[in-house]
Symmetry: D2
Subunit: 203 residues, 4 copies
């Protein structure tokens, strides 16, 4: 795992998925990942919309130094963890927009065999957490990525809400230690499978 | 709504979805439905499997007088509310088996324009509640049914867990008043849309 | 149906979904719809990306006078038909971006009871046509919209590819009469259910 | 790959998915798989229903010597390829019933890290091929399986219908060489990833 490269790609308006992404990066380091990058997708919302929402504005400012994800980052990564809020059961346009620009990489086969899992949040306990992850995983199938969903491969998943597709939370609630533990397990699993795949690809 | 016929079709191993079905029937009566039938799908599990699980056995005995749903019931109903546990994000084979027998009705167009919504349960808070409802709604599209998911059309939905696809619960936890209220709203909405469709079809 | 208002909302890069949208509007008029508007979602792609793709540029110019959809249009419409290409099994960011701006309407309950169906295209025969429609319908459940998928309610659906979720085509192939007929049936059905719902809501 | 064990698990009423399963086994042998078993799921339909359908009866008789899949086979396999017709966008109850019996294996963690992909058929060109594979893959996430969907990792996928989730066909049409080639690629890819995972697990 020492040479594995992990991209944690997130979109966050008010900080929930940024926190999940931070925890993912921390867990990756604890697992001895080679390199890890935390990367935000480009904001599309007009400045005025952001300015009218105090929490959104505050978060944008607080993360202004987080680098924006590029196509090069996708090519660079062996494994990817996405973290994204729902938008009515689908991905936010900010993340979708980034995904829409990957046609060139896709066409040249450079997205195949990325090992991927994802985390999410919604405003309600059952507000699209499961369906949003399903939407992202559909796209991963198109890429030829290898999905490393956590399933129920550790008790941390049960304790963190029991979402087998990926860690999910209710936005606005305090993020708990049980969530952090579930993130840690999901990351560990993604890296482990990523390591197997990377080794296989190199032989 | 006074001439509207509602079928509440459920599968339940240990009682959660039976309780939801009962609440749905009660709500339907409170809304002045014409007729309502609570109907279970046929059990497929071998007797031995049931006998080995005390709660399952108890529930089977407690509901032995609930009529099994037939194809005639489907034809009879103007509106249908399903209640079903998840099986790894999909429908239990007991319910799927019933659905698999509807080919003749489907072919003759008799399933079109049924107004439908669904409720569900899983063992974990995020254990397939959303994805199971999505699986059932896929089938409803094939039928030409009209899906009356609750969305967020009443505050009872937010208070009952905020699942816009249908009421969902964690099995084994106490079913709460907020859940019962959410069921009542979902039923009211399904009947209302069912009434509009029935009236439209009769003109 | 004479007072029913239909919005045909589409995104199209090179014309396939624009054609489907045109056919939908034509069918709506043939069915005596009250009013119909064909509306495009705002383009997000940078001008350079468009300029580098001859077909895309040509289509943008050819449709420069088609009005862009606004939130007022959503509020105005009784029924909505979406037409959109896939992006790896999900919605293009252009359409997602428009959907992401509907929070205010959603919160005030103004998206509930819209009667909706959708059409789609992909580059391959099985390139996400079904999954893209499922993604859009998930969002419709969140809105509290009423989905009027065609199912198999007319032989035109079988002849047009047999997609029960909505008309779908392979982009780049000639659009056929059988497709046009399937669009006509889907529109007729959406308007019919839209009429029932509108009447019900007014009583 | 020489020690890799592959289970090809299928349900077939009239032979389409049996043919796909046979092709998968042939491809696995051509790729030097260690062992491969072609296994059918138990039929649930009553004898009378089968007797009334000449093609179904003929197929049941023709495959009476194909062994039925058991839980031991699941435990034995390193990789699994499923082949199944759609039932209104979901799995047939026959396959669902088998899946429903895996709770014990799941609970003891023995389904985790199986490398899985799937193939399907429907009566119409867009009759649930994509959504059926999505339903099965949801279950695989619950298992903690690793999904090796083909994506667009070879031109055989484009030529075989371009379904990135898995090979899919229209039942009743002649199965083509392009389909066989797509099956061969999907199998090769599943085995390759299966080999990487098996090696990783053994270290």
């Amino acid at each position: 795992m020492k040479d594995l490269k992990l991209a944690v790609i997130y979109y966050s308006a008010t900080g929930t998925n940024y926190q999940l992404a931070q925890w993912a990066a921390e867990a990756a380091k604890n697992n001895g990942v080679g390199e890890v990058k935390v990367l935000k997708v480009k904001e599309l919302a007009p400045e005025q919309a952001i300015a009218e929402n105090k929490d959104w504005k505050k978060h944008v400012e607080a993360t202004k130094n987080v680098p924006e994800v590029s196509l090069d980052d996708l090519e660079w990564a062996d494994a990817i963890i996405f973290s994204t809020p729902t938008r009515y059961g689908n991905l936010p346009s900010q993340l979708q927009q980034f995904i829409d620009t990957t046609g060139g990489l896709w066409f040249s086969g450079k997205l195949a065999n990325k090992v991927v899992s994802a985390m999410t949040s919604a405003s309600n306990p059952h507000g699209g957490q499961e369906t949003t992850l399903m939407s992202l995983y559909k796209t991963m199938h198109h890429w030829g990525a290898i999905i490393a969903a956590p399933g129920y491969t550790d008790k941390a998943i049960f304790e963190g809400g029991g979402n087998p597709y990926g860690v999910s939370v209710t936005a606005g609630e305090d993020l708990k230690d049980t969530t952090k533990n579930a993130v840690a397990h999901q990351v560990k699993r993604t890296l482990q499978i990523g390591g197997w795949v990377k080794k296989g690809l190199s032989e």
